[in-house]
Amino acid sequence: MSDPVFQVGQRVRIADRTPPVHHRVPAYAKGHVGVIERVCGLHGQPEKFIRGNGKPAQRIYRVVIPQDELWMNYAGTAADRLEIEIFEHWLESAE
């Protein structure tokens, strides 16, 4: 069990890449900066399931992104937010 690299409250950037395999990061979130909302457990890597069992497992984090930073001309308030699960190998510190 590896210790989490990121902590609650830390600012992180979601990688903007598109590997030619199944992955679980929607295009709309790629490249955006958010804040870690909670540290979740270790789970199989989607990119590695296609060639085996998803190992080594990776940490999942919940990342919060303000909606008005995610979308141009967002129709809502500054408090509206998108919350998404991202694997550790898709995140880098944006502190």
Partner: protein, 210 residues
Amino acid sequence: MSDHDHDHEHARTFQPDHAEPTSDGARLGLALRELLIEAGHYTALEEQAVIASMQGASPENGARIVARAWADSAYKARLLANGAAAIRELGFELEPYEFTVMENTADTHNVIVCTLCSCYPRALLGMSPAWYKSSSYRARIVREPRAVLAEFGVTLGDDVAVRVHDSTAELRYMVLPQRPDGTDDWTEQQLTALVTRDSLIGTQRELDVA
């Protein structure tokens, strides 16, 4: 096929009451399952048991969890802190997924989506509604949640923040709706009957006590 001359063994069929597949995709799916069983990965009986258990799941399970949380604030705290452990207390299980409950409050509204496919706590709540799987809902609820919620009849003022939860990986979500006013002396059973499937997804906010 009325003379039933095909050569598969019925000991390997999964749902004996199902019609023979007619589309290429369905045939491919059936062939894959037969191969998995032949290779010993699981048995037809095990598959039948999983199907039966999923068919037994329904939003009423979620409603029971919500009613318990309303009736017991200590349970609610445990549910919000660790959903998987809290529903196990009531005999529910959603492994290997991390069950996560998001609480609606006077100034927060939660709504669930899976933009990548159609992830849903199906083993707990049963089949998701058709619109939950539609590309329209999946694309629009993240981009314009207030407009989509209004189409469901949920009109939110600027004093209520929207939290859209995109179920992209191994977590599965349920919304904990607000307990309606005037239900203080209701039993847990009465409270359970108030909770709807859509209120557990977040496309309904007010529960009807009438």
